[in-house]
């Protein structure tokens, strides 16, 4: 189980001694794997087990039912749209927060994290009050697919901002200055210097936002109207299955949702690996 000591030493040149390093590694590895097992692996294994309780045939019947497929397509489409929107607007937000100076910047910086603190069901309620039939600003999008996107944008806003911001802060401005002194325009500087540096951060943020958007229920359940085939997302479909006493069906759809999300997250991770390969070379 233990890594070869020379590799371990090469990894951590500052380790006090080989023995100490190895004991430490074994201990931390043990703690981490136990923790992950209890918190993530066992529950997911139980979920997969539950989804297979009534046999593979029933599993397939549930996940291929027209209503489940419609919900899954809607969920993935909205999650992808929200992630892409976040990629752009989240990066812009991070840029403004790092590069621009304006009064109240510290306040805006703190506001970014608020969606995390608010119970998402309250977010749903607030959005209905603001952008619903009795909207004080005259915008009524509640109970539509747009509303689902809006609610998910709200809860996923912090991810890209918070993954791009530290990278931007660490970014060496001299590289940009050098490029400019060599005659590069702003667009070229951004495209050739800034973007390659922050792209891995954007990808991490997008992956987090996507995963969250796929699984979110609280913010969506009130504002979507839950019309089957039209505004019903997978998480709500799963909840309806549970409420009807069909927990195996609920687990089956959840497993498919997890599988697709996992594949997409792996793909994003692979892309991140590719764009950062020069750092490891």
């Amino acid at each position: 189980m233990l890594p070869d000591s020379s590799v371990a030493a090469a990894w951590r040149p500052g380790a006090r001694s080989d023995t100490g390093g190895r004991t430490g590694t074994a201990l931390s590895l043990g703690v981490v794997s136990t923790y992950l097992t209890v918190v993530v692996v066992l529950p997911i294994a139980a979920l997969v087990w539950e989804s297979q309780r009534n046999g593979a045939h029933t599993f397939w019947q549930v996940v291929s039912s027209p209503e489940a497929v419609a919900a899954l397509r809607l969920t993935l489409a909205v999650a992808v749209a929200v992630s892409l929107l976040n990629a752009v607007l989240g990066t812009v937000t991070a840029w403004v927060l790092v590069r621009d100076e304006f009064p109240g910047k510290a306040l805006v910086n703190s506001v970014i994290d608020l969606p995390f603190a608010l119970p998402t069901i309250v977010a749903g309620l607030t959005l209905i009050a603001l952008y619903g039939p009795q909207s004080p600003v005259g915008v009524n999008v509640a109970f539509t697919r747009t509303a689902i996107g809006l609610a998910l944008c709200f809860v996923t806003l912090p991810f890209v901002v918070r993954t791009v911001q530290p990278v931007l802060q660490e970014l060496d401005r001299e590289m940009e200055e050098a490029a400019r002194s060599l005659g590069a325009g702003e667009v070229t500087v951004f495209r050739r210097i800034v973007l390659p540096n922050i792209f891995p951060g954007i990808l991490s943020g997008v992956a987090l936002a996507f995963a969250r958007a796929v699984g979110e229920i609280g913010a969506v359940v009130l504002i979507s109207g839950n019309l089957p085939y039209r505004t019903e997302v997978s998480s709500v479909f799963v909840m309806n299955r549970i409420e009807s006493g069909d927990s195996a069906g609920a687990a089956a759809v959840a497993v498919v949702l997890l599988g697709i999300s996992f594949a997409l997250l792996l793909a994003i991770g692979g892309l991140r690996f590719l764009v950062t390969r020069h750092e490891r070379a």
């Binding site: 309250v122 109970f143 359940v221 019309l227 709500v236 549970i242 006493g245 069906g249």
Partner: protein, 340 residues
């Protein structure tokens, strides 16, 4: 909005305080009541009335309120409960299935029911769309709000009421089912629970909300600009309260108290139809007697041969893999039906 958020916060704090106060009093027996969400205020009044009697003196309560189906599942999963007060006999049957409630619970006094309600229409103030009967719900341009039948007990009552009303008007099984499908073409929101559907309607969505008469009275009492219509044919909503298989003498005494005149009066004053109808003869309850017994209405029950009881009705209509509502939802919202 900010005011209602504040209200939620205050209520939560009060709830926590009340819960801790209730659990702090350990001088006598504690009964664990697990109930569906809407009767919380009325049950609170009944409990304090009971605690003033000799039988209830010194008995304290822990109270848990939530969506009926979720509460039933929680009890099955091991949440301690002495008394279950749920919104459908179907949820009680799931406790029977788990061996927690006697299979003969309907043999108890009043069939195990402590209060009734009926399926009602809630419309906007002044009834601008002139909604009076079931057929008015499918007029062009009428938008209906009802919860999702696969997650909400309230939605199940609504659908069976719509079907039953058509049958009572002489329609065939096929015609009445087609009516339900047509009704669902007018449904603009299928919230996860009855109370969420009420909130959606009160937030301004739709022309008609299908809900319990008792819920409508609660919204009216809160001063909302709405109007209630009880259709000529509607369904009786029977609310069961049962002891779970833990033999405490106080459990049965409390349930009996709920069916006695003092508690039935409290139910009647809060918009619930009493099962002990004699309490409506009290002069002070004249307004409620007229509300509950006035007009000539045809009110049918789940035991009606049209439905054959909860187990059968649920299988036919709401089975998550084969129920009629699956096909109706698909016909209405699916790729082929979206245009219709």
């Amino acid at each position: 909005m900010r005011r209602s958020l504040l209200l939620v916060l205050v209520l939560t704090c009060l709830g926590l305080a009340a819960a801790s106060a209730a659990s702090a009093r350990r001088d006598g027996t504690t009964l664990k009541l697990v109930a569906y969400s809407t009767p919380k205020p009325v049950i609170g009044q009944i409990i304090s009335a009971w605690q003033k009697t000799s039988a209830g003196h010194g008995v304290s309560f822990t109270q848990s309120y939530g969506a009926s189906g979720s509460q039933a599942r929680a009890i099955v999963a091991g949440q301690p409960a002495d008394i279950a007060f749920l919104s459908t006999g179907l949820d009680i049957n799931s406790l029977v299935g788990a061996g927690l409630v006697s299979p003969t619970w309907q043999k108890a006094s009043h069939g195990g029911i402590v209060a009734d309600s009926v399926v009602a229409f809630v419309v906007r103030g002044g009834n601008p769309k002139h909604i009076h009967n079931w057929s008015d719900l499918i007029k062009p341009g009428v938008q209906v709000v009802t919860p999702n039948p696969f997650s909400s007990g309230s939605a199940k009552w609504n659908i069976l009421a719509a079907y039953g009303a058509e049958r009572k008007l002489g329609k065939t099984d096929k015609q009445a089912t087609a009516f339900v499908q047509q009704l669902f073409r007018h449904v603009v929101s299928q919230d996860s629970s009855g109370s969420n559907a009420t909130n959606t309607f009160l937030a301004g969505k739709g022309d008609v909300l299908l809900t319990y008469e008792s819920e409508a009275y609660a919204a009216l009492a809160a001063g909302k600009d709405i109007h209630m219509v009880i259709p000529k044919q509607t369904m009786l909503i029977e609310l069961p309260m049962v002891p779970t298989n833990t033999p405490l003498s106080e459990t049965q005494q409390f349930i009996s108290f709920c069916q006695s005149a003092p508690a039935q009066t409290i139910f009647a004053e809060n918009g619930y139809r009493p099962v002990l109808t004699s309490v409506l003869k009290q002069p002070a309850l004249k307004k409620w007697r007229l509300a509950y017994q006035g007009g000539s209405r045809l009110i049918f029950k789940i035991k009606d041969p049209l439905f054959g009881g909860w187990a059968k009705a649920n299988k036919i209509w709401f089975d998550p893999t084969s129920g009629r509502m699956l096909a109706i939802e698909q016909a209405v919202g699916g790729p082929s039906g979206a245009a219709g």
